[in-house]
Symmetry: C2
Subunit: 210 residues, 2 copies
DNA sequence: TCGCTTCCTGACCGTATGGTCAGCTTTGAG
DNA sequence: CTCAAAGCTGACCATACGGTCAGGAAGCGA
């Protein structure tokens, strides 16, 4: 995060293994939930002995917390799309694009995040009350400004944000359902593009920004 | 389901206990997920000895399956709002109302459903491939008809349906997040009404039906 | 009342899981 | 080259969990 990290063999090994473990954990937690996931399965998937997992992450909860933290940061970063936008069409449009891309590229992480929140956010409640609360207040204010400037219809900024989160996240969390309804096949590139366009056009028109 | 069920004391006891168990199970599964839920906890919450649970529902999976089936039926029933509607404003509007009400009244069930789908629908895959697929095809056709009749803009019916599911379900599944962002308090009656109106107005305007 | 069925439950069991640890190997600074 | 620190792991442990079962209590048709 801060230091450039001299790449000694030790550091390389550490990074490599942590990465393998986190990656495997994300998948297993997404597929089975926290309670259903087992350290043994994560270890197998990472190609390491179980005891080695506990060397890097002392407890299952520590590992889980790290996975959640990781996706939360990706999630927050998508907010950048919002900034420096002259109006809702660019800002919200870019945000939808970014979040749809996250749903596609980080489907497992998204599921872990959804699961965590659904179960009452036992390990990231503090993030919700600080970082997320601030983030939300900031964006709501920005949306309100756009409304005041006549760039969009007077909708409740909070509910608009919830709608953005819901619609984009849905393509990850309910991906299996969508896939089933798509004849059992994952959405193609073309279909993903169509999904993005659908969401954008309905919402942007819905808030009177088009 | 079929017989009027003579209400002998036995039947009464059976119904009462099954209800208590299903109700407790819904809550526990929603809070902890399938893997994290324990029969002991469900038993305690239902006020019955654990062995009694296994008398009514032989395995944890049997119990879980029943909980999922129950919410799925409620979910499907909301579809009735769609029917006999002269156009999208009435049909989709009523559907949003119905699904928002489900999110409010059956938040636990909604979470269980979401969890089930998120984890690949291990126990209700067949429902997705039959009942849900048919349901979706029917509604998509209805929406297409409305488009052809010029009652709304030409949007992709599938993605519109996904959007309806996502936005309404969000208020149940991510209820904890919304509550946190609402100062830690559940949405009031007034706020729920505002949520419904926000969703309806954005979507109906978004599909050019207003 | 009889006798069969349903309902109920404490005690028990096998297993899987999260986690520990002693002792090994590898790395790299001095 | 030395040796302390970091990395690694097979074997092990305590616990908690899903599920079983023998045997008792309650309901109820005849």
């Amino acid at each position: 995060m801060s230091e450039p990290e001299r790449l000694s063999k030790r550091n390389a090994i550490r990074l490599e293994n942590e990465q393998r473990i986190l990656s495997a954990a994300e998948k297993v937690f997404a597929e089975a939930g926290f309670g259903g996931a087992t350290m043994q399965l994560i270890a197998d998937m990472a190609g390491l002995p179980k005891a080695n997992l506990h060397y890097y992450f002392p407890t299952k909860e520590d590992l889980y917390r790290e996975v959640v933290r990781k996706i939360f940061n990706i999630w927050l970063h998508a907010a950048d799309s919002f900034d420096n936008a002259p109006g809702p069409v660019e800002g919200i449009g870019a945000y939808i694009d970014a979040k749809m891309e996250i749903s596609r590229r980080h489907a497992d992480g998204s599921k872990v995040w959804a699961s965590e929140v659904m179960h009452g956010a036992p390990v990231i409640q503090d993030y919700l009350e600080t970082t997320l609360r601030d983030w939300t207040a900031g964006r709501a204010a920005l949306i309100q400004r756009w409304i005041d400037e006549g760039k969009m219809a007077p909708v409740d900024p909070r509910h608009l944000l919830y709608m953005l989160w819901a619609t984009t996240q849905h393509y990850a969390d309910f991906g299996h359902q969508i896939e089933t309804l798509n004849g059992g096949k994952p959405l193609s590139d073309k279909q993903w593009k169509a999904a993005k366009e659908s969401v954008k056009s309905i919402i942007l028109r819905g808030i009177g920004a088009l």
